[in-house]
């Protein structure tokens, strides 16, 4: 494309609204041991959780920002101005009727039709830090599936929860996982019993709705032997004047022969720092698959990982990132092969629009004495405007013989011929561009569940508005 046009500010009005805040419990701004005790008191944490939080705080304060490799933009986060905990003070709701009216309005603005929700096996919608609505279809409950908030999970099912909590992602994994460990609230706890295959995806929506309020949800999903589960999370956040921080930790445990698929569509508003640690552990013959789609936020740093610990386990990351003006999508994947015959696949597609920057950062590790491990990595980047930027920073370590690892990346732009062809068929340049971009991600989007791929296409069209012409 030769036309060099500056990207026009896109219409974000869809997520741009806020309702009056009613927070019964508010820890105030800033982070200290006092904040931790406050959160633990309010949440009536068991002692081990309180200790876990304090260890998290200590590690968080000790660790420097990772700016020696990551974006200097991280320095813009003022940790003293962030409110680390608040809760609407309402108990988790069981039925739709009990959900507060303004939250229902929020869902409406997000464009999730009520009928569509009926298809969902369970809805866990998080409004600020506490789950306000949670409903698992009777059938799922009867199968013995546990699907509750993380706070409820650690209190009600400590024997399962404690065994895996913080084991896949230790407190000191990185500065932001430590922060999450200190102040986490909300998020889901899911346990799928052996052999149970959850037919419908379990779904949760996360939103940020209090200015300067960081959301630190913590999700733990355990799929017992031979079980299967799909979890979907989608988020949009209302726009605020000052920056917001979202720093989640998601741990997945796929026991022998289990399959977990975790789908994210992230559309935070363009002032949110989205710094998320996601990692899955796959035992023998198990499979962990991350489908990760990043459209919003100011800076996203997220590298879903899979540790393939058992023989013949599989890991997969499918990632779509879209970076518009003022956005930096720093996403990627980590594949740690720790057993023979493990296979991993990474497919990443990014689109940079206007002054947007998309970065792929990857790590593939095959230690020695492993046999028949395979990794395939493909990164494709599409640049829309002359000012757009894309980076690729993979790191691949392979030891020994008997393994095959390949990485490939390409950077291109929308072909002028394609656009010309569509224009002479009567499409406007913008329509042609949008169609072309959707085509670029189509083979990935097709792998998404239907309702998500529709939403995704809508989001991409929205982002493409005004980028050409």
């Amino acid at each position: 494309m030769k036309t060099e046009t500056s990207a026009v500010d896109i219409n974000r009005s869809i997520g741009d609204f806020a309702y009056p805040e009613v927070h019964v419990r508010d820890a105030g701004a800033g982070l200290s041991e006092k904040t931790i005790h406050y959160i633990s008191d309010v949440k009536e944490d068991p002692d081990w959780v309180r200790e876990f939080r304090l260890r998290g705080l200590k590690t968080f304060l000790e660790k420097p920002l990772p700016t020696h490799w990551a974006s200097k933009d991280l320095e813009a986060i003022d940790f003293d101005k962030i409110r680390y905990y608040l809760s609407p003070g309402t108990e988790a709701k069981r039925t739709w009727e009990e959900v507060p009216e303004d939250i229902k309005r929020t869902f409406e603005r997000l464009g999730i039709p009520e009928q569509e929700r009926k298809f969902l096996a369970g809805v866990e919608a998080q409004f600020d830090s506490e789950a306000v609505y949670s409903n698992i279809k009777k059938a799922v409950g009867e199968q013995g599936v546990i699907f509750v908030g993380s706070t409820e999970g650690l209190k009600k099912y400590p024997e399962i929860f404690r065994k895996w909590f913080g084991k896949v992602i230790p407190i000191a994994d990185n500065k932001f996982s430590a922060l999450n460990s200190a102040v986490f609230s909300g998020g889901s706890f899911i346990y799928v019993p052996p052999g149970v295959k959850v037919k419908h995806p379990l779904q949760a929506y996360f939103r940020i709705n209090a200015e300067n309020f960081g959301q630190f949800e913590r999700t733990l999903i355990i799929a017992d032997e031979g079980s299967e589960v799909t979890y979907m999370e989608g988020c949009t956040a209302p726009k605020f004047n000052t920056t917001t921080l979202h720093s989640a930790v998601v741990e997945l445990v796929a026991l022998k022969g289990a399959k977990i698929q975790y789908i994210t569509v992230q559309n935070w508003s363009a002032n949110v720092f989205n710094l998320v640690t996601k990692r899955g552990l796959a035992q023998e013959n198990a499979e962990v698959k991350w489908i990760d789609c990043n459209i919003g936020s100011r800076l996203t740093m997220k590298y879903p990982s899979v540790i393939m610990k058992g023989r013949k386990s599989r890991g997969e990351v499918l990632s779509i990132a879209l970076a518009n003006d003022g956005q930096h999508q720093d996403t990627g994947a980590k594949m740690i092969h720790a057993a023979d015959e493990t296979t991993s696949n990474i497919i990443s597609k990014s689109i940079s629009i206007g002054k947007g920057r998309a970065t792929y950062r990857g790590l593939v590790h095959v230690p020695k004495h492993l046999k028949n491990c395979k990794n395939n990595t493909e990164c494709d980047a599409l640049l829309i405007n002359a000012t757009s930027r894309t980076d690729t920073y993979p790191a691949i370590t392979v030891r020994g013989t008997g393994n095959a690892v390949q990485h490939e990346a390409s950077v291109s732009q929308v072909s002028a011929e394609q656009i010309f062809y569509m224009q002479q068929r009567g499409l406007t340049e913008a329509q042609a561009m949008s169609l072309s971009v959707n085509g670029f991600v189509n083979d990935l989007v097709r792998q998404f569940p239907m309702e998500y791929s529709v939403e995704l296409k809508r989001l991409i069209e929205l982002e493409m508005e005004g980028s050409v012409g």
């Binding site: 790191a395 020994g400 095959a404 950077v411």
Partner: protein, 442 residues
């Protein structure tokens, strides 16, 4: 820097390199000034750490410079041995041989080339006789790939090297050959090459780095700057064959002006730890840079390559192909980046690294990177790591070829793709011979 005369005595030719520049040498004042600056920078810059992104995967513990000394006197016997072993190409346009940074032999250029203005001189003469040209280009490229500290050390301690200037329109048909030798225990060398080509000039340089005593510890810290003027064609071939206990750092920068083309091939065979930084800057439209490298690593050898293909001007092309064959407990690291600066549209850049792992304890690290700040570009990179194909091996065995020989054939074939890209038969044969020698002698 030593000002005290009593200390000066200690800093004799066999003093520690960590005592700083040798004052007694007969250099122009501006050069001494640069040496002092370099030394101050070296002292003030921090040592690389494993956590530094540009040293990721590198074994920085091997960079202890304490034992290393300046080159000592060269006895006749060793001198003859070096001359005897400086076997390169049969036909060359000119030749320089350095031992411990001292020029021990030179085969001069033909009168014809001299008459046409080609300059091929040791550094210390060039800085006096062609001061303006030399100063304009000497150490003019910043070391941005991690070794700024060692580039400063080089600037402080460089005492000889090669200056080659090819004027406008002159084509030097035969290659120009340079040898650098290390001799003695804990010896050091600071090899330098400054190659400047004017418009439409053409030249090929091949540089060899060897140790007289294959087991002696040593340290080499070299810089080579290649400047390809408009429309010029520069080929540079480096054969690194240091002894097995040598720690070596080499910082290369190549500037490619409009319509010029530069091709470099680096063959890495020797050393305990060998790091090679290669910066290729494409500053004019129509410029092209080819970066080729081969590493044959065995024992506990570690090869560490860092590259940057920096596309500054629109309509430029670069193509990188690095191949590593690793045996025993060897390690290789490749950290490469294609950077397309804003407005450098119509860039065509390619980067490929392939690792062939031949043993269970070898380790290959690849970090092929892209930073693209312009949209009308075509950039691709790939990295693969694998082992010898079982079918290929089986095929050769059915033809009666024993496994070790079959393996060697397959590895040679794997590496040959890089050598063929040179398109210069005499040099290609020489490179193949060196690789075969390494296979044969371990």
């Amino acid at each position: 820097m030593r000002h005290n005369s009593t200390v000066l005595d200690e800093v004799s030719e066999t003093g520690s390199i960590l005592s700083g520049p040798v004052e007694s040498r007969d250099f122009p004042e501006w050069f001494r000034e640069q040496q002092r600056d370099g030394w101050e920078q070296f002292a003030s810059l921090p040592s690389p750490k494993r956590k530094d992104q540009l040293w990721r995967f590198s074994n920085v513990d091997l960079l202890n410079l304490t034992p290393f000394k300046f080159g000592g006197a060269l006895p006749n016997k060793e001198r003859n041995a070096i001359l005897e072993q400086s076997r390169g190409l049969d036909k060359v346009a000119a030749r320089l041989i350095f031992a411990g940074d001292q020029l021990i032999e030179r085969d001069v250029l033909s009168d014809q080339l001299k008459k046409r203005g080609v300059i091929f001189q040791p550094l210390e003469r060039a800085m006096a006789e062609h001061a303006d040209l030399f100063r304009k280009h000497f150490m003019s490229q910043p070391a941005i790939l991690g070794s700024a500290k060692f580039a400063a050390l080089h600037q402080a301690l460089v005492s000889s090297g090669t200056f080659l200037y090819v004027p406008r329109g002159v084509e030097v048909e035969l290659p120009i050959e340079i040898f650098h030798w290390l001799h003695g225990e804990n010896a050091s060398a600071f090899p330098h090459l400054l190659l400047v080509t004017d418009e439409l000039a053409k030249v090929t340089v091949i540089e060899s780095f060897c140790s007289l005593d294959k087991e002696a510890a040593g340290f080499a810290c070299g810089v080579n700057d290649l400047i390809a003027g408009p429309g010029a064609k520069v080929t540079y071939v480096c054969m690194q064959n240091w002894g097995s206990e040598v720690v070596a750092l080499q910082m290369n920068s190549t500037i490619v002006d409009h319509d010029a083309s530069a091709m470099s091939l680096n063959l890495h065979l020797g050393g305990k730890y060998s790091r090679f930084e290669s910066l290729s800057r494409l500053i004019g439209e129509g410029g092209r840079s080819d970066l080729l490298a081969i590493s044959v690593a065995n024992g506990t050898q570690e090869f560490d390559a860092r590259t940057l293909q920096d596309h500054i001007s629109p309509h430029t092309a670069s193509d990188l192909l690095y191949k590593n064959a690793l045996g025993d407990r060897a390690r290789t690291t490749f950290g490469g980046l294609i950077r397309v600066e804003p407005h450098a549209h119509f860039t065509d850049a390619y980067q490929k690294v392939r690792n062939l792992l031949l043993s269970d304890d070898s380790e290959a690290n690849s970090m092929p990177g892209l930073e693209i700040l312009a949209d009308n570009v075509r950039c691709t990179h790939g990295a693969t790591s694998g082992q010898i194909d079982a079918d290929e091996l089986f095929y050769l065995r059915t033809r009666g070829i024993p496994v070790p020989i079959a393996q060697r054939l397959i590895v040679s074939g794997f590496l040959n793709e890089v050598i063929q890209r040179l398109d210069q038969e005499a040099i290609a044969d020489h490179l193949r011979r060196l690789i075969e020698d390494k296979f044969a002698n371990g």
